[in-house]
Symmetry: D2
């Protein structure tokens, strides 16, 4: 590939891009951001001119930022078509490997089959601030990918690199509190995806009182952009209602608290989808809190059950599940919030349905249908308690008829819980939940495992989540913190 | 691969290791550090138990540190033999790719042919401090590799990962001065590989006066371990003698200085061989200095010529080069240091030989024979001036008969110099040097290009440097700062 | 004074305090916070037990915080009555000094006449956080002092110590921006006393855009409590309206700006009254800005004229000043804000009155009547321009009928302006202002110097400000930043 | 005082200075540093020109630094003669006070009798770096003062200000370790006054191992200049020999250690004489260590006995004390170090003499003769154990025939020990030491209290220490850490 060829390519690419966006070929100024970007990428990978690579990378990323949606699509197609690999080199390397499958030939085959865009992305990363721009580039790609499944393999390349770049060993855990710079705090407000932070006063209530904590992972090359954060409340006993928990900020002293409650965990960077940190974050925060507050004897979550309403609706509509008239009435009219009597009557049936949903209803994969359950159980937590009503906000009623649950993290049981879960898909739960899960005989007739395309059963945003690419799941855990389904 | 298999494997591995080191099989306690390490590695890659990966990684690296030389060799053989790739998966992936060489199939083939040890190393990196331990692991491997060339492909895996992990975008440039923590400064003393730092007082002379600077690259995950550092003197004019330069510390004010002199550049981590930073370091330091000290108008090095003596000896011994009796006498007796008259007589001939060596004598690769010349010319510098006597220390006389040279970094010429060098192997030099390089007609009869195994022509330590693996050379430049040949 | 005496004293003090607050003597528990505090103070000054002074100081300050208003009054009376000085020692020291007025005898007299409460306050300062508590103690004293002028000498002791403790040499200038911890930023919101900050979004508009700056003085022992801060806008030209200035946040680039505008300066600590820092702050900020932004060629304020309305009212009511019917009408109805025609008609007369007020009307002291004018002119600024309407907020109309002015800080004239002002009370002003100040012949009949108690002529809050104690005015300037009259 | 008077004064001062140093009057250039300094001081105190005080202070301090010894003497005489107080104002203030000795008149008298140089020093302190320069100015004064006792009252003014400026509440405790900037560490080497630090390797041995700690007080305005520091060893049991303690660096783990040993405490700033911090430092370090290492159960010193040899010599020479021939011989020949047998024979007698010296021999003040004993006992420690031989270095033998002692800090006894000591001069000691102190009947005939000028009995450097001025002893303890007699 020489420079004149690239000129041709660029012209071609430009035309193609223009065609795709409905412009007539050749009509425009060749010196567009897309053309410059494509040329920079060529230079970065082909030219031997190392001396100015940092500057080239910088310009390329600046040009990328100026692209509109269609131009970005065109650019990703350039990456797909012109930054794959050298076929002949692969054939030769494979031939040698087939002949003698030793490490040297493996190494050569691996090198030959690495898509050239990986090298390109590494070189774009040379310039200051490059890492964050590449993360945002992948966020763009993920938005586009559903309409353009042919670009999926590109995503695997991003994911492969990010698994190295965002290895746990490179992340920094930092406490977020009222002494944190405002520039970071406003990002916490923006990225909170589970229980929205209304304003700075709300934020202060979650950070400043002695019974509140917040921790985030940062990456040194990404500056003050958090990757993921978790909000923690210190409580006496295990809380059962998110509105009460938020309202009681500052009511408990550090001394009194015996329970740390993880009540919100939010991924911040869409471009890091699949490179998730939630597992590591929770465990490191448990360690930090144990060290700082030896009085704490329990670590639980207060978590949403995002798939419950939808499953229940489908089970009733399609699978013949029948519920009592009382329950049917209240669910339909969503009118139980201020009616304590109704609540008492509804509770046993609703709890039994919910316990069944969490313990018995399975995803095609064999794991629990509920994504938040999958995350915490997969991390080695157990299902501790159902709380109803636990979240009476419109969102809480819409997704789970007001249900919340506690998952329990017991340091000495995490490993065995995890093993049981990952080998046998066993949902480790308290005896109380177990009993509730068997209470409703009616449910026997409903299938326990999803029979159709499972993503339909999840809220739409979660549904968009593609399976984590295998290579990304590598150094990090493959399960993304799902409490923040916005992510 | 199940756990009992692994037990077998471990026994086997242990025996093999023992056999290799001459121990009788089965004699020892199976629960050695090696056995534990091997088991941890298995768990890290095979078990689904993500929950305790960080702890497993930590134990594995602790066990690794307890291994002796032979056990490390055995461990590397475990990596070579049991952490390669799944042949069947490769064959299947290739078959699909041959059928349809699209990005999806490429992606699958790439994933299949990635040696499993890369995944293992990423997981070892999960624990705090892991990165540095893995860098040291590679340093061990590089020591072993000469006697065990079969391990070379392993090194490619380390190099591939390090090219991502130590991407320029992740490095931090920091000024080293007298306010730097002592824990870092003692490392500067230890790692200085060009002009040894005698003690703390010597160190202070290189850092504290207003005409001295020092800059290093650090990596966030490696804490206070520098990766590479460069020492700079601010001078009036271009200096010609390293002893004078060191002795004149503190004699020039920032205001007076018009020239920044890079007089020593040292790589610090043997385990990062081939992942070199010198190119980026010099250029970023030039930027820093230009910003801070607008008076500076020149950026030069004062560099050794490590291959000159050896080339000259060989040219005389094997290629029939004849030198004057005077020169022959003084070179043999190494007695010219305090004899100004002798120096004046010797100078023209010696300078002509040296200019010829630097400008005309080529490595088999076509690039200059001298490794320091290759580094700076490859970075886009030009060969500015020969200085004789420039280094009268025993080492300076031994390797280059006291010769030093200045390479000149001119920001606006770096790119074109680099292009000329990398395309045509042109040595860009001043007219003065060019003239000197043609002065000795005698040299016409000596071959200008190495005809035999080139590494013989280099000082032994440089000779050990294997060619940088292609994959490591990726995001970074492939040429390591060679001023510190110790590295 | 021995311990048993102190017991008596304490009993007495307790009774007195109780009597003052209407409790029957002897009725209560002797171990009240006031009793404990009084005892701690005794121990701190009298007991030789140095070993536990820090702890004693800590307890004393904790006890102080628990006192209610009446108990604090009682405590201040304890300080006044029992922590004065030893009369006999003073008489003896004076006798010696009269005999021989040498330095040794002066030193002894000085030591004898130092009120013992100064030593007490120094010892209260031993504990961590003590400094801030003592500052707040003085704030309490200042609130009480108007009703209890007998406590004024106590205030002089605080002021004497604070002049040493808060010496400019101990203060740290820090930039306040969007990376400043939220805990500090919320204090900026709270302490802003000139143009109130509505919320965090308003705050961000004053800190984050590239055309805004904020600087504060901090004291190392007082942590994140600012002492004083100034808000700066970078503008093209000299701004004439505070609402426009605030609304145009972010509209100017650093490059374009030629003028730095100090548009708000607020003292934060009531307890530091008279120990003012505004003079030093403005000058240091000018230096910082000159260094950072060489394009800046002008440093001005956009300042309120807090005494104008009141002076005008009095001049009309009591001194026979007659204004035009038009002006009288609009001032009375405060209805000119949206009536451009009225504004044009009113302007000349109003400006002439204002110019006269600022330039000619004097305080009993001979200095300008307007406190903000006194501050900036005393700092060496000149009166640059009247701006009308400059502040159409209710407060701006209430205190100055919407008038604002610019004071100009010209580094090379500061000294001579200051000299002229402080020697001859000359108001240095631009020729434009000078002309305006002579425009209204009517004013000739109004006295130019205050003839009655001047404080009546100032807004009530400013009126409360006692003359800065001489000893406080010592190392610092005696004129407090008066832009924030709340202080 | 007007400016022309000042001109006269300056001429006069210059002449006086010149006369004092033997120069002819009027001979020199009037525009010397001394003249400029004197003028700056005048401006700082008399001119109303606040605007440029910072710059004036800066210039004044720069001029001061250029003065030679004689000029500094002259400058101090200017301070003494022209910066005292206004006699008439004192007489008037006293008259009012005698009439009515109320707080208002006291306040006026106090203000009138404050020497004007205090105000001058506060204003010199306005400029950055001023504090440290003023501390060094006092160091100069203290050097001069012995030959010029008339300047003593000046010193009281410095001491009065420093008692405020260096109040414990303003000091910061910082751990000094191997991560401390080299610029601070080299000061630790320089200021160590008890057991000299040979070089950086010796320093590292005192800071880096896990059984060593070092803490220092810093003042925010004095940057990286430590005020005082203490070196600590963590040991198993109470150590008895300084050479062993230093040699065993790194031999004990944090876990094993049960005893923290303060083995060296050094004041760093001669200009802060009498403003001592040792008492606070030791107690805060005890707190830090207790918090960090709960295993520690004992806090002791390993301290020198600097006055023992001299006392013993005098008691034998002048007071008829007779020692055994054996002891006399060995003391004379100083030959016992490597002679274990001699040591065993000498020990009982020597220990008894030492115990007597420490427990019974008193200073004219009634406190122990030994300055180190006065310091620790005054801090509330008890005399725990004699160690012989405890310091076999030349210095240790010269000052105390090799004796060292442990003082024991028991947090719960500090207060009562201190009380006993300060009320009754009781030396609280272990029963063992008590017994030893009574063992030698011979001593009955020697006077227990110093009968002649005591300072003669101390090593010369300690002897130079003037009694701490009363005003300096105010907020801080009056006893300076005497372990470092150099100070």
């Amino acid at each position: 590939m020489n420079l004149s060829f690239l000129q041709d390519l660029l012209t071609h690419v430009g035309q193609r891009a223009r065609q795709q966006v409905g412009l007539s070929p050749g009509a425009g100024n060749e010196d567009t951001a897309l053309a410059r970007l494509t040329e920079s990428c060529h230079n970065l990978t082909e030219s031997s001119g190392e001396a100015s690579r940092i500057m080239m990378a910088q310009r390329a990323l600046e040009d990328y930022q100026q692209l509109d949606h269609e131009q970005r699509l065109a650019f990703f197609h350039v990456l797909a078509e012109h930054y794959a690999a050298d076929e002949a080199r692969i054939h030769a390397a494979y031939a040698a490997y087939r002949e003698s499958p030793d490490n040297a030939n493996l190494s050569t085959l691996f090198a030959a089959s690495e898509p050239r865009r990986q090298s390109l992305l590494r070189r774009l990363n040379l310039c200051p601030g490059g890492t964050y721009e590449i993360v945002r580039m992948r966020a763009d790609l993920l938005k586009i990918i559903k309409q353009h499944p042919e670009l999926k393999p590109l995503d695997a390349d991003f994911a492969h690199l990010f698994a190295s770049w965002f290895n746990r060993g490179f992340l920094m855990l930092e406490a977020i509190d009222w002494n944190t710079p405002a520039a970071v705090l406003e990002k916490i407000i923006r990225y909170e995806a589970v229980h929205a932070i209304q304003d700075w006063s709300d934020l202060r209530g979650r950070l400043d009182p002695e019974d509140r904590r917040c921790y985030a992972f940062f990456h040194p090359a990404i500056g003050d952009e958090p990757l993921i954060f978790v909000e923690v409340a210190l409580c006496k006993g295990v809380p059962n209602n998110i509105q009460h928990l938020l309202a009681n900020s500052g009511q408990t002293t550090e001394r009194e608290a015996d329970t740390a409650v993880f009540y919100s965990i939010s991924n911040c960077q869409k471009g890091l989808k699949g490179i998730s940190f939630g597992n590591f974050l929770i465990k490191q925060v448990v360690q930090e809190l144990q060290r700082e507050l030896p009085n704490l004897s329990r670590f639980v979550t207060l978590s949403p059950v995002p798939g419950f309403s939808q499953w229940l609706e489908r089970a009733r509509d399609e699978e013949g599940l029948e519920v009592s008239d009382l329950l049917a009435h209240h669910l339909q009219h969503d009118d139980w919030m201020n009616d304590e009597e109704a609540q008492q009557k509804m509770a046993p049936e609703l709890r039994a349905l919910a316990a069944h949903y969490l313990v018995n209803v399975k995803h095609r994969s064999g794991q629990p249908m509920d994504p938040v359950a999958r995350f915490h159980l997969g991390n080695g937590a157990s299902l501790h308690r159902l709380n109803w009503p636990g979240d009476t906000s419109p969102n809480g009623r819409q997704q789970a008829h007001g249900l919340m649950v506690n998952y329990l993290y017991e340091p000495h049981r995490i490993e065995q819980n995890h093993e049981a879960f990952s080998r046998n898909d066993s949902v480790v739960c308290s005896s109380e939940v177990k009993k509730e899960s068997k209470a409703n005989k009616e449910l026997a007739k409903v299938p326990r495992r999803e029979t159709k395309k499972e993503t339909d059963s999840l809220p739409s945003k979660a549904a968009e989540q593609p399976p984590a690419p295998k290579s990304a799941a590598d150094a990090n855990d493959s399960k993304q913190a799902p409490e923040s389904l916005e992510e």
